[in-house]
Amino acid sequence: MVEHVLSVRGLQKRFGGLTATDDVALDVLPGELHALIGPNGAGKTTLIGQLIGEITPDAGHVVFCGEDITRLSVAARVKRGLARSFQIVQLLDDDTALANVALAVQARAGHSFRFWRAAGSDPALLQPARALLEQVGLTRAETRVSDLSHGERKVLELAVALAARPKLLLLDEPMAGLGAAESLRMTETLRALKGSLSILLIEHDMEAVFALADRITVLVYGRAIATGTAEEIRANPAVQEAYLAEDRPE
Amino acid sequence: MRLERRSLLAGLGLAPLAAPAFSQGAPLKIGMITTLSGPGGYIGQDIRDGFQIALDQEQGRLGGQAVQVMIEDDGFRPPQGKAVVERFLRNERIRLFTGVVFSNILGAVAPDVLDADGIYVSPNAGPSNFAGRECHRNYFVVSWQNDSLHESAGELANRLGHRRMFILAPNYQAGRDALAGFRRLFKGEVVQEIYTRLDQTDYAAELAQIRAARPEAVFQFHPGGLGIAFLRQYAQAGLLATIPQVMPAPSMDAGTLAAVGDAAEGVNLSSHWNSDFPNAPSRAFVTAFRAKHNRTPTYYAQQSYDSALAIGAALRQTRGSVDPAAFRTAMLRADFVSTRGNFRFNTNQHPIQDWFSLKVERVNGQLAIVTKDKILENHGDVFAAQCRI
């Protein structure tokens, strides 16, 4: 049997009267690109929050590479090989794209209790950072984040997440708000990444999802109603009823 | 009011151009550092105005010597007082200082003056350390040693026949000194003592304790605005009718009386001076002050006026010199007629003076502080024994 990279069992989270995550079970296999789809308000982002550790679940377990990480802090999970991107970009707006990635490289390299040597010109940080920017195809490395376009920021989010060298990458709508050409480029970037690490992808762009995903899980009202390959999901009557009926992909 | 200030030119660093060369007949500069902002500001204002009355009476001179009083606000902050004194000492080369209201500012200001061999004449604060072990040849107090205020109140309580007293003061050095000073001469029993907070505005909790303890009388020391709030609430709680109050002068001056109003009627005070003193210098001072400022002078104004008289007497003998040795000899003779009557300097250069009982009464329908009896004669302070000059 294959060891799961991520294994979620019985995960539960309630906000007041609203059940955002309802007894969710989810497995991600090594090297797999696993897509998480569902209508708005299905609880996808809340689920990501619990996987990365920003939100504490009310019940259930998150097991990562065989270790129960349910009670660990965000930083501790990232150290173990989890990373995420944000749907609404979370970057250091006053810094350059390069500095953003370099800081993530620095965080990956170990603790940062180094008080004397200048970090801004440290090749040990800048070289890997430039390589990452090249990998995702962002050319304006010395531009301040606040001056980058939305598309460039989404790409930068990905580079920053990759800098942690994750075993499992949680991507929260990397294509949201992108133009058609940008979406296509992002799809290609993700396709190139496939295999080297596991990815859990939340995305509304169904074209991209069906093109990229090895397996798909459908989340509706906090419940995982189906998991399977693209064909299985397309054919699943429950999915069609609950999800495709109201939010049919173009 | 003509009070010279440091010129704008000097402030902008152009003093060499603006400062006159030392010439004969140039006025002697006196540095007055006092508190003009914040809740204590009215005290500094009276110290300033009282001093000025003495100058007015001599047409800008003290003891025949033309003087220029340079006044600056310490903002009720020791470091600022320190900055001002440094400028006065070094830039203006002032040798003679006065004006500080509060003990904690004096702690920052006086050492600099004394170390530079300058002279300090206190019109108000008289903390115990400077009266005892830390006393200094160039340091004079014309007002009183802090404890004397409260010792006299203790004696007043004896005379009024109070046996069981409830005593309160704010929790700071002068407050603790107040309760210690009161106990020193009070012969009865202190049923309870309470320290209030310096930033307190509501005394309901303390008043309830007073009512519960059923003392014969209350001694309280709350200077300035604190006293106003305390007295108002005391009266509003209906305690004034049943439990009389005994207090030292700073808890009830002309300014607080005006603000407190009827709530102050019947309060007993001890003081070294009052605006109704019949002696000629006092009457002249009060008349001049009222004419100029349209308000009754407080003790603070009188103390400052007396300080000016004392300085004037010394300057007359030294012919305007502030050479410390000569000035000290002249100053110690206290060759002036004080508004309070008997006055001479003790061995620690603090006053030996008489203390009186006062009472707030209605005179011609108006509330006034009325002088009653002399309660202590030629009273010094206990710290003089520790002073070795």
Binding site: V78 | D73, P79
Partner: protein
């Protein structure tokens, strides 16, 4: 470092200040400048956490006061010849009192920071204030060290080779410490640690997501800033030769914060410039009119309204235009 030349000129001017002041017949300016140097160190250290780490501490005067009181209490025991708690002998050696002051302030800020940093935003502002007020009232109640009236330090500390009773030498000493502290802080801000701190200010969530346990870094910065304030307090105690709880009142915390904002948040020299501007305006306006606050208030207001980024922001814009 494009700005080496202006900085060198500024430093040269600062070193030459005592002679200039004497020559202009304004020797008291040296004392004023000493005070500005001390407050500059305090404001700069607050700026490390406020400007670079986004932590608005409203209790910074506590560490300033603790540093000052350490010098005062060590002096008092030296004077009396009685060890503190029967163990720690008093001293008047600056080379001992300064490190001890920084240690005391550092330990206090570690304890207070460890608790306070569990909150953020306005709650953090208020909880740091709360702890500072506790320290303040503790010293108000400490009868043995003068309580509210404060503690007199009759003689300044002793340093081999220097005479601190000479105001010029004290000034240069404080200037030296200010320059050293600014240099240290500049290195910290540019270092890996400083990058993390800057990241926390901009987006703490992002920093956690790249695997940084932000709490530790914030606490470390909080302690460094506390130690800087302790140093500033120790120097202030030597300059004033007097310590009182006034040094740790909330108004003092506000004043230090105002200096940072006035000068320019997150800039190297801003806090020092702010300290100089605020103290200088008080001094000059106070010399002209007793109603100085009436004019200082609107000046501060004008800076906020028309000079965002404080004086450094204004200078920067001027330089760019010119």
């Amino acid at each position: 470092m494009r700005n080496v030349l202006p900085l060198a000129l500024l430093l040269a001017a600062a070193i030459a200040l005592p002679w200039a002041a004497e020559a202009m017949g304004q020797p008291a300016t040296i004392g004023l400048a000493t005070r500005i140097m001390c407050l500059g160190i305090a404001a700069a250290s607050l700026n490390l956490i406020l400007g670079h780490g986004g932590m608005v501490s409203f209790g910074h005067a506590a560490y300033y006061g603790l540093g000052a009181y350490t010098v005062g209490i060590l002096w008092e025991h030296f004077r009396l010849g009685e060890p503190l708690f029967g163990l720690i002998p008093g001293t008047n050696q600056l080379l001992i009192t300064l490190p001890v002051s920084m240690l005391v302030a550092g330990v206090a800020s570690a304890l207070i920071g460890a608790l306070s940093l569990r909150t953020t935003g306005v709650q953090f502002i208020m909880i740091t204030l709360a702890f500072a007020q506790m320290v303040f009232f503790l010293f108000v109640g400490l009868k043995a060290y003068g309580g509210d009236d404060g503690l007199l330090i009759r003689r300044r500390n002793i340093v081999p080779g220097l005479d601190l009773r000479d105001q010029d030498q004290l000034y240069w000493l404080c200037l030296g410490f200010l320059v050293a502290w600014l240099f240290l802080q500049w290195r910290i801000v540019e270092s890996r640690f400083g990058r993390v701190l800057e990241g926390i200010r901009q987006n703490e969530r992002r920093m956690a997501a790249i695997g940084i346990a932000t709490y530790r870094y914030k606490l470390a910065a909080f302690v460094i800033a506390g130690m800087g304030c302790g140093l500033a307090g120790a120097l202030t105690a030597n300059y004033l030769r007097f310590v009182s709880p006034d040094l740790m009142a909330w108004q003092k915390s506000g004043e230090i914060m105002v200096m940072v904002i006035l000068g320019g948040v997150g800039t190297l020299l801003g806090p020092v410039v702010g300290a100089a501007a605020l103290v200088g305006m008080e001094y000059v306006l106070g010399g002209i009119t007793e109603n100085w606050q009436f004019f200082l208030g609107p000046i501060l207001l004008a800076v906020v309204l028309w000079a965002p980024g404080g004086i450094m922001g204004l200078l920067g814009r001027g330089a760019r235009r010119g």
